[in-house]
Symmetry: C2
Subunit: 440 residues, 2 copies
C-alpha cells in the first residue's frame, strides 16, 4: 500500500494552515463587526435538499450516495442551500438573520490550479429583508473584508439578475433560454466575446439576438455612467428599468457606506453560475492578480421557499473563496509570516538526570503563554540547537549540571547567537523580554 | 418537500456555535503553547486508508461509496489515521512532528444523547519519538487544556496496552483473543463486572480465565500504589513488568510537569476501543459530571507503518470530544455567555431620508471594532428598540430630524434605559465608554 490522497483533495501542512487560519480570523472579525453570527450545518444533506438548486451542470458535480440506512445523501456543494434549509426549518430564528459560516464544500470538478474538489468557503448572509440596504451593506462588507487582509486594489463587480432577464427579453430570447444565455455570458472574461458568440450560436441562439445582447452589454465609464447607458437602452422594459434603479440605489448606498466609486464596476454580463440568484449579483476581483473572483454572491429571494419553507424569505449573501484569497495574498507579498514559527522557545535536554528540570522549565513557560517545545532526546547540544533553529525557535534553554548547581539556566538567543546565564526564578521574565525585542 | 436534517446530524445555531468556538479557541491556544501546529486533511480518503485500522466494529460504521471516478472512498472516522497517512506521505516533515487538528469525523452509529453521526474532534499528536516524555507531556497537556476551560475536577485514567497483553497472557488467553478481551473490558464502567463476565463467557472465555483477569484488575489507592500492586501480580511477565515500569515513569514525569497525583488514576481495564494502540492509553473524565470520557488517546507506534510508510514511526496523541466537553461545561455552569450577544449596538432607522446618516454611523462603529447592526426598515422606534433588545444589543442609536439638525445623535442604553445626546464626532468614544462600563 502506497499512502496517497484523493485527486483534487489536499493536505494542508502547518505552514499553509497558519496563513489560512490568519485569513479566516480576519474575515470572521469583520463578519462579527457587522453583526453576523456563526452557524454550522452538517457536511451531509438529503440529496433532494441539494439537487435542482444550482443548475444542471452543478448537479452533475454533486458527491452523493446511499448511506447505511439507504437514504440518498449528498455532500454539500455550497453553504447557501444548507443555510436556506436551516432558515426553512427554524422559524424561531430572528429576522433579519445574519449568519457566517466557514466550512468545506465538495464538488467533483476537474481539478486545476486554484480549483479543488474540497475547498473552504467563508460565507456571510442576511435572511429576511428585501431592502437594498442589505445588498449595499454586503458590498461594504466585501470592501472591509478585503481591506482587513491588506488587499486595497480590488474591484467589486455588480449586476442584477433582472437586468439579465431584461437583456434577454430585449433580444427576444425565450424565458427558458435565459439561464443558458447567462451561463454563456458568464464565460465572457474566460473565452472572450468571440467564444461566447460561437457558444450561443451552437446553443441555437440567432445571430441577430446575440448582436442585440452585445449592443446592450457594451458599457463604459464609472458605475453611475454605465447605469445611465443601460437605463436608456432598456427604457422600454419594466424589468430593465427596475433593475437599473435597484443597482443605482445599491451603488449610492455603498458609496455612503464608504466604498469608493472607483472600486465598483457595473458588469451587465455577470451571472455567476448559480440559478438561484434573483436580484443583485456581486463579484470581487483583485486588480493586480488576475485569478478570477475572490468573493462572489448575490440576492436569492426564491431559494428558501424552494427548500420547503412555508413562507419564502428574501435573502442575500457573499462567499469568499479561501484558496483564491490566499493565492492573491501570496502574489501580492501580503502573507503574514509572523506566526509561521509558532515555537518560540526550545528547551534542550542535557542528560537523563536533568529531565525533571527541563520539563519544569518547559511547563512554566507554556503556562505563561510562551510557545515552547522540549527535546525528547539527550543528543549533543549542537544537534539540539540546529533542530531548534530548523523549527524556527528564537531561544534555546540549557539546564545542565553547571546550571543546576548554580540554580540558573542558560538562555541562548539563536537570532544573534548571544547568550546569558539567568537565575531560574527570573527565566520567564527574561524570555519574555527577549521575545518582545526580537533579538538581543 | 419538508426541510429536514439527516438523523444523527445537527445544525448548530449561533448560541451554540459561539460557545463551541470559544472552547476550540482555548484548546488551540493550549495546543500552540506546547508547540503543536495546525494541519488539515480532506474529509474523504481512499477507503483502503481507513479500513482495517480501528477494529471490525468500527469498520462497519465507516461512511463509504464509489465516487464519480469509481474510486472507493470513505469519510474519515477519526483524525489519527489521516495524520498517519500524512506522516507516511511527507518524509520532509520535522521530527518530532507536533500537529493539532480540529475537524468533523463521521460514524454511522446509532445516535443518542451526546453521540452523533457527525462530530468534531480536537486532536493533538506527536509523531517521531518513542520517549515516555511524550506520553507525560500529553498527560500534562490534557490537564492544562481542561484547566483552561475551567474544569478542575477531572481525572486522567492511564493504562498501557502491553499491560492488557500481559493480563491476557497471565490468564492464558490466546494472542488473537486479546482484542476481544479488551473490547469487553472497555465496557466495564457501562455494563459492570457482571456484564463483562457474561459477555466474555459468551465469547468463549473460560470462567477460570475471567477470574484471573479480574484478580489482576482489582487495584486501589494512588497511581504508584496501584502500579506496585500490578507489578507484584505480573512479576513473572516480561511485558507486564515493562508496562508497569513505563506507566511508572509516565506518572512520575507527569507529576514533574505539574499534574497533581490526585488527578491521575491507573485503570488497568482501560482499552479505548481502537485496535491501533500499542503503549500508554489515556482517558480524561469529569469527576462531577458522569458523561463518559471527555478526552482520550494513547500511543500507536505501529499505525504509520500500517498506512504505508517506508519506515514505521512512533506516535502518540490525544483527542478531545467537543460535544462532551460542552455538555460538561454546561452541567458545571461554566459556559461562557459573554460573547452570546455579539451585536453591541443597533442603529435605528428613523425615515428614508435619514438612511445615509444611519449607514455612516453604522460603518464608523464597525470600523472601530464595535459589533453593529442597523435597521433595514423605518418601523416605529419602539418596535426597533424591542428588536434591538431581543438580539441582545446594549445600545441603540437614533438619528432622526432633530438630531440631524443639531449634528448630534441620541444614544439609548437598553440596559438601564438611560439616554444622552452626543455630538456626532464623539459618538465612537461615547459608545466605547458605555460598552466598557457595562451600563451607564
Amino acid at each position: 500500500m502506497k499512502p496517497k490522497v484523493l485527486r483534487g483533495m489536499r493536505d494542508l501542512l502547518p505552514e499553509v494552515m497558519v496563513r489560512r487560519n490568519d485569513v479566516v480570523a480576519r474575515l470572521e472579525k469583520v463578519f462579527e463587526s457587522y453583526g453576523y453570527r456563526p452557524l454550522q450545518t452538517p457536511a451531509m444533506e438529503y440529496y433532494e435538499v441539494l439537487t435542482g438548486k444550482y443548475g444542471e451542470d452543478a448537479d452533475r458535480l454533486l458527491y452523493h450516495f446511499l448511506d447505511n440506512g439507504k437514504r440518498h445523501v449528498g455532500l454539500r456543494y455550497d453553504l447557501t442551500v444548507p443555510l436556506a434549509r436551516v432558515v426553512a426549518m427554524y422559524p424561531e430564528l430572528p429576522r433579519p438573520f445574519r449568519r457566517y459560516q466557514v466550512a468545506p464544500v465538495w464538488r467533483a470538478e476537474k481539478p486545476h490550479r486554484g480549483r479543488h474538489r474540497e475547498f473552504f468557503q467563508c460565507d456571510a448572509d442576511i435572511v429576511g429583508s428585501p431592502a437594498l440596504l442589505v445588498d449595499a451593506e454586503i458590498v461594504a462588507l466585501i470592501g472591509d473584508a478585503l481591506s482587513s487582509l491588506g488587499i486595497e486594489a480590488f474591484e467589486i463587480l455588480l449586476n442584477n439578475r433582472k437586468l439579465l432577464d431584461a437583456i434577454g427579453e430585449a433580444a427576444a430570447v425565450d424565458p427558458h433560454g435565459i439561464p443558458l444565455l447567462c451561463r454563456s455570458l458568464d464565460k465572457l472574461d474566460k473565452i472572450g466575446r468571440h467564444g461566447v458568440e460561437s457558444e450561443l450560436a451552437r446553443r441555437g441562439f440567432e445571430a441577430s439576438q446575440v448582436a442585440v445582447v452585445f449592443q446592450i452589454l457594451e458599457v463604459d465609464g464609472g458605475p453611475l455612467e454605465r447605469l445611465e447607458q443601460l437605463r436608456k437602452r432598456l427604457v422600454a422594459s419594466e424589468a430593465g428599468t427596475a433593475a437599473v434603479a435597484d443597482l443605482w440605489r445599491v451603488v449610492e448606498l455603498a458609496g455612503i457606506a464608504g466604498v469608493s466609486m472607483e472600486k465598483i464596476r457595473i458588469e451587465p454580463a455577470l451571472a455567476r453560475g448559480m440559478d438561484y440568484y434573483t436580484g443583485t449579483i456581486f463579484e470581487a476581483v483583485s486588480r493586480d492578480v488576475k485569478l478570477g473572483s475572490i468573493a462572489g454572491g448575490g440576492r436569492y429571494d426564491g431559494l428558501i421557499g424552494q427548500v420547503g419553507a412555508k413562507q419564502g424569505l428574501p435573502a442575500a449573501g457573499v462567499s469568499f473563496g479561501l484558496d483564491r484569497l490566499l493565492l492573491v495574498l501570496e502574489e501580492l507579498g501580503l502573507s503574514d509570516d509572523t506566526r509561521l514559527a509558532p515555537v518560540q522557545v526550545f528547551v534542550t535536554l542535557f542528560d537523563e538526570a536533568s529531565t525533571p528540570v527541563a520539563l519544569e522549565i518547559c511547563q512554566k513557560l507554556r503556562r505563561s503563554g510562551v510557545r515552547t517545545e522540549m527535546s525528547y532526546e539527550t543528543a549533543k547540544l549542537g544537534k539540539q540547537f540546529r533542530h531548534a533553529a530548523r523549527i524556527g525557535a528564537a531561544l534555546c534553554i540549557v539546564a545542565g549540571p553547571d546550571e543546576l548547581a548554580a540554580d540558573s539556566v542558560t538562555v541562548k538567543d539563536l537570532r544573534d547567537r548571544s547568550q546569558e546565564s539567568v537565575p531560574r526564578d527570573r527565566l520567564v521574565e527574561v524570555v519574555r523580554g527577549r521575545l518582545q525585542t526580537g533579538g538581543g
